[in-house]
Symmetry: C4
Subunit: 488 residues, 4 copies
């Protein structure tokens, strides 16, 4: 059971469940794909993949004679991938039907042999060493072309990006950009190498794109030749096309045709992705602008007093700032039992300090907290207006709220409520219009309890109702005499 | 009546209704457009259309003298299209008002003659053979230009793509891409041929785009000349514009102006389509990221215990994985009678195994199943929390659920429920807070039955109510003594 | 009052209210902007605007000596615009506060003088004739530059496109495209003319873009020079940039810099618009695909019988086809009184033929029709399932519905209902599960009446209730005996 | 408390709260970031930032010897930024946790020193004057390169644009465009300067991009060299790439490669932004078109009488025109107390003039106004239809409404209601179908009061109910006799 839960986290959210990976028990010699050491090995292989992606096209085009140092490095790299092929036979995999890790060696082997085994082997065989047995010259065009099979390793990079896009610890925007830049750079590198290869193997050097521009190009340094090839490649990819370097013979033209067709697609894909990211990025700011704009115009058209206008705008600003929290949406999308757990954890301690619910049964309290909603209010915003129909009871969690009473047309602050106070309960429980105005004096977090829901709950718990009404009477009786309100 | 139903499937969904095509009875000698043999004929013609799209512009520009082989091939192709014209007079068509297949030969003929008949004939007449009667030289510019009328056949391709886009067996993304690539390739091919034709017919060969670059271009092989023309075409289309080949005289400039204007539109159209596809593709991943992100931040900000956080994230992950199923949306969009049929088919067998509904009438059962909702729950998620207000009854279809009880502040697993068990019914039917906690121990599929709906149904069926309460009493009485719960 | 209503139509919907224009009574000599003769005059001016947009940049660059023919044409064109300036003083305008036509000559004059009068006059003064008084040579650079002021007339085109975009008789897609193409062509024409002017006025002809390519360009025909300029312009705008023609001196480079900056914006704007249009266009097809796909997978996963699957798909296809009708959305967005009028018009005649409502009061009927909803059902779809809880009564407007009864586990068609029949009323009015199954046998249009609404209406009209129950009893009594259903 | 409120306004909405800035009391010598004098200072610095962004790349590339005038100007500019560094130590800042201004000098200093202090100092040190102490030649490449650090000041511009985008006084579209144009211009300027620098420092002047085109380029004027560099830069950025100027050596090629990669990103970003803006801009027009289109087709298909069709279209047009007001959305998004304040302010004066609520208590009136909704109706639209079920009471605020009665099948206008009249109340309060038709005769603003809400309010206030029914009786009794309606 633990496994399943961990797998969920790992598959989609590699980081979140990381701490629990050690608990998975697999057969002996079988490695979990979520093992941290295996993850390090994978990351290390990715570095080698990037190296392979760069070196093999480069070698194909520019390195007629392989230096012994490079030859050694290549064979070491290949041996690492050979080790990985062997490791894969001991690597548990996630069954996509049951969401369980499979650690049966036979099933692992069967799955691997029937999927990517052959391609993995082909991309790992050391062709040059084999070639040396028959041929003195170890880096002929044939061997270098066979090396291109090693680019199969790039599928690991593609899998990495798919995983990173879902990793919430990383910024989606930058992951997408990195991916696009990587693809572009690889396309530029490859096409640069290929076009050089075509020129290099053409019989008449003066009728090649590079030979026409630099007559003795073969005597130039490797750096100059590589930069020239890349320069041609990017000039074509970005469709700048200066024309100082251009195809000279039908073979080069054919390659250019293919490359330009590919570019058309790549450019469209790049722009499409960027548009996608830009549209997302600017969405929130624009919504905020529209809302503020509508509110300002509404206030101006209806000549609302300055105070009401300020309350409106402050409220919208606060909502914009706290919108990122997405409190309500997050809670609403969860099933009821989880929501109840969260509400218990967050609101029960608050509820225990409220005089009104002193002595109330645990069941009733539980029912109350599950129906509460947390809200933020900006400073100087009216929460309850004197004389309005009571619809909600509020509990102040943090911040400060002023209790105001209108006497002879002038508002007077009666009391300053602080965290742990409840207000609006008199109107609701006595069924009278709210006798007082309540307004925030600083940023306040409130719990809101709907009248109908509250009444239903206390109706069903007769005993608790008595306790609540008693609590209310003891505290408010004084108040009622004060304001001459008849208790109905 | 059968026809209508089949037509629905075929028109929009060629594959789904395919098995039913044979049942359509039409007049003798009249062919149904959904006949599988006619479909094969149509597909065969499409191959010829692609061939025509390539050969006629090519012939116009490059083939001054038509070889006898090619001449033969062309006339055979034309004759196939001539046969199709005759066939169309025997082809039933779908009336767009009544959605019925019309098989009246007169109406078929009238419709065809008044729509595309003339254009179809013009695109099929063999101009060269006629020309040969008067003129020895069978491929003059006039005949080749007349051949361009054959491109009218491309409308079949356009109709094909419109149909494929609606075919759900194929990936929308790749259909769109294939369409865009086809249009681009055709544009490149045509413009390459036209620009060569313009150069070829210009009086001064040295003042043409190709003559300025390759002085004796006419002595070059057909392959070199074609590649050069295509190279110019794609260099211009992708706006690379190296400048090694460029317009030299006003005639070529005029053509270039038109082609570049067209390119501007085509490029914008390509990018627009790609953006559209990219935006769609990334939509789901981004939504998932946003939801997980909001939930993680919510948990961190409110310092929720690790267990609740894990439940939240596991739930969101499962929802993401099963979102593709779109179960609820699919059902909600259907009319009530279909939904009822589906519910009967899926849930009645499950219901029959539940002890609570043992002996209940068929009508009552039918009403119960139509209001049930299927849901998936990830492992280790709390479904019902002890003491919460009962709102739903759950039936476990597959998976496993633990029945837990809180004794002295410690939770203890009482029982492990498996497929076919019902839970939550005690709280609902006895109107008491849920006496037990229920939580999944592995991925579980549940049927949810809303309290209010359940009560309404058993209220209306007095007799069934007695049976249900009796069933409940027999099984639960033991339980009630055990937990000291008073039966109200 | 009539005026206001007409104005609404005209301002946003020029065509719809056209027939009512004649009824507007304005002061003598004051012209209504919705007068059809004035519309013709405006359209005629637009042709002259297009001519102006082309001729003045062309004249500026290419025509050193104005031919007498062209001089005459120009002055005639100018005089038409002069007439329009005078006409504007007699043209009523729409006040944007009161939505009333203002026909007070003083207010008209004040408004015109304070807005565009001066610019209109400047773009109409005949500079050349004035110049001829002092100078023999009537088309000096100064006069030609002053002529550029006439491009101010283009604001009429911009206003036209804004209006056309809102005209629903035209396709939005093509209007947008035409606008974009017009802007692009005008940009190409202007920049081509300007770059030629710069070359033409440069002291050293060999160091200009055209002089470097065509040494004696001034002796070339007007056509060659114009095509060359346009060719340069579009090569730059599409960023092809062959390089055969390019800036040679700092003056040309400065112009190029500005033009390329402008192009960057224009290209982005073109692509943005195209993306916008493509996204819209493909939206509906994709939604349909997604829905069908989800439904197919739902059926496959749950192994639904083929018949239910076909019903599901047929329903979705029909909804897609009739979605364009947007019946429900249109009605819902209208205020209640209009909806009532429409319902009366459409459904009252149908209701009069129903046996159940025979003899019912007009008030009751009116209330019934306003709550009905029209729906389409595909052939062979079950509307009511035997034994399900009754929720709706249906009236068959057109098509055919089979009444089926399940006897001994086999369904039997009892009756074929046709237009004007009502069904489902027995279950609803007798409060029993539906005794029969009803399913369409061809495309059917139904009116749906919700049970709750129906009961509320007949509850409030006691007398009508008796009539309805009596109607029901007379017709159904026979049926009840037949099926052994007890009348509760 | 005042501070908090002001901060809200200022942070997001610099303008709205501007009038209240003076009221913030901070410690002596501490400056508020919202002080208008500090704002002016900031704006002044922005001008210097723009100057710096232009001058330093230019100086790096083109000015080998700095004139004494420019030297003086630069040092003055630097000294202003030095002053700003000192000022920042006295500048209160907004704490992002508490939303309070912090004016404690130690905390201000600690925050500044730990964030941007070092970079600010580095971008302000006058390198040349220091250099002059050791070296006669005050503008060596080293000093000019160090000057590039001053571009760090650009972060101020970036912050400005982020703020301007949220400022609703400015048009979002133009702010975005200005930002994009600024970025593009800066990229062009910088790359132009850098490529010139690379050419200028290359050992062989004839093998540089500029030397190849203009052999003695160093003897050309500064203007010619600058324009040529910018021309190269923009030719590359827009991917025009004429090829008249192009990289000649590996060093230039390397720079080109980097610049073109950057361009690819910039172009995609520009197009993405433009698409975003275009999509937004055209959204409303398209929605309107779709709605009108659906309504027209609905009317045509159902052959609705012309009058109903006109009412439908007029209603949709009015809604489109007033949609910008977003009245309802704005109100709905506000909390209840603010909505109540607004309703009191707007509707109480209207309610006081209504005969029906004459003498009604203030509490009851307050409850009535908070439930009212304001609506606009176009001319000649039916609001209440004779005989329909009463659902709303309307109060006419402005405009005119005709009271019509159907006698013998012909409608007759009984009375013309004007501002301050109420209608529909007879049907609602007497529970009878509406006895009269009401239709607007010009644009009218109405307050709508839902029947259910109205009944609930007067049910709870027994005394007020009597007053209202009495008011109704006195005014309507006459009417009732007239139309023979029985008072139930």
């Amino acid at each position: 059971m633990d496994n399943i839960s961990n797998i969920f986290h790992n598959d989609l959210l590699p980081s979140l469940g990381a701490r629990a990976n050690q608990s998975i028990k697999l057969r002996k010699f079988i490695i979990s794909p979520y093992d941290s050491r295996y993850r390090i090995w994978e990351t290390f292989l990715l570095v080698l993949v990037v190296y392979s992606a760069w070196i093999y096209p480069f070698e194909l085009a520019f390195l007629r004679h392989l230096s012994w140092k490079l030859f050694l490095v290549e064979n070491i790299v290949n041996s690492f991938f050979a080790i990985d092929i062997i490791l894969t036979f001991f690597l548990a995999y996630l069954d996509h039907k049951s969401y369980l890790l499979v650690d049966n060696p036979k099933r692992i082997a069967a799955r691997y042999l029937s999927s990517w085994f052959i391609l993995d082997v082909c991309s790992t065989i050391p062709y040059q060493p084999f070639g040396l047995l028959f041929n003195k010259h170890g880096n002929g065009l044939a061997y270098r072309t066979l090396n291109m099979l090693r680019l199969w390793r790039l599928r690991r990079l593609s899998a990495l990006f798919a995983r990173l896009e879902k990793d919430i610890r990383l910024n989606y925007y930058w992951i997408r950009c990195t991916k696009l830049i990587s693809v572009t750079l690889f396309a530029i590198h490859c096409s640069g190498c290929f076009i050089y290869l075509i020129a290099d193997t053409y019989p008449d050097p003066s009728r090649t794109w590079i030979g026409a521009a630099i007559p003795n190009y073969r005597s130039e340094s490797l750096w100059v030749r590589y930069v020239t090839a890349i320069y041609w490649s990017i000039t074509t990819l970005t469709t700048t096309g200066y024309g100082d370097l251009h195809a000279e013979n039908p073979r080069e033209m054919s390659f250019c045709i293919c490359f330009m067709l590919f570019n058309l697609g790549l450019t469209a894909y790049l722009i499409g992705n960027m548009t996608n990211l830009v549209v997302q990025g600017s969405c929130r700011t624009r919504n905020f602008r529209d809302t503020i704009h509508a509110a300002s115009r509404f206030a101006a058209r209806n000549q609302l007093p300055e105070q009401i206008r300020d309350e409106m705008l402050a409220h919208i600003c606060l909502r914009y700032k706290t919108e990122g929290l997405k409190q309500k949406e997050t809670l609403d999308s969860l099933p009821k039992a989880i929501r109840s757990s969260i509400a218990c954890h967050l609101f029960l301690p608050v509820l225990e300090k409220i005089y009104l619910f002193d002595g109330v049964s645990f069941t009733c309290r539980l029912q109350l907290v599950t129906t509460m909603e947390a809200e933020y209010y900006p400073p100087r915003e009216t929460i309850i207006l004197q004389n309005e129909t009571p619809t909600d009871v509020y509990i102040l969690v943090s911040g400060a709220v002023e209790e105001r009473i209108m006497i002879d047309g002038r508002e007077k602050v009666e009391k300053l409520l602080s965290g742990g106070d409840i207000f609006g309960e008199i109107g609701v429980l006595c069924n009278i219009p709210q006798p007082l105005t309540f307004r925030t004096s600083r940023i306040s977090q409130l719990l809101r309890l709907n009248t109908t829901v509250l009444k239903n709950i206390i109706q069903e718990n007769k005993h608790d109702k008595e306790i609540i009404m008693n609590n209310l009477y003891q505290v408010s009786s004084q108040l009622f005499y004060h304001y001459d309100i008849v208790f109905r």
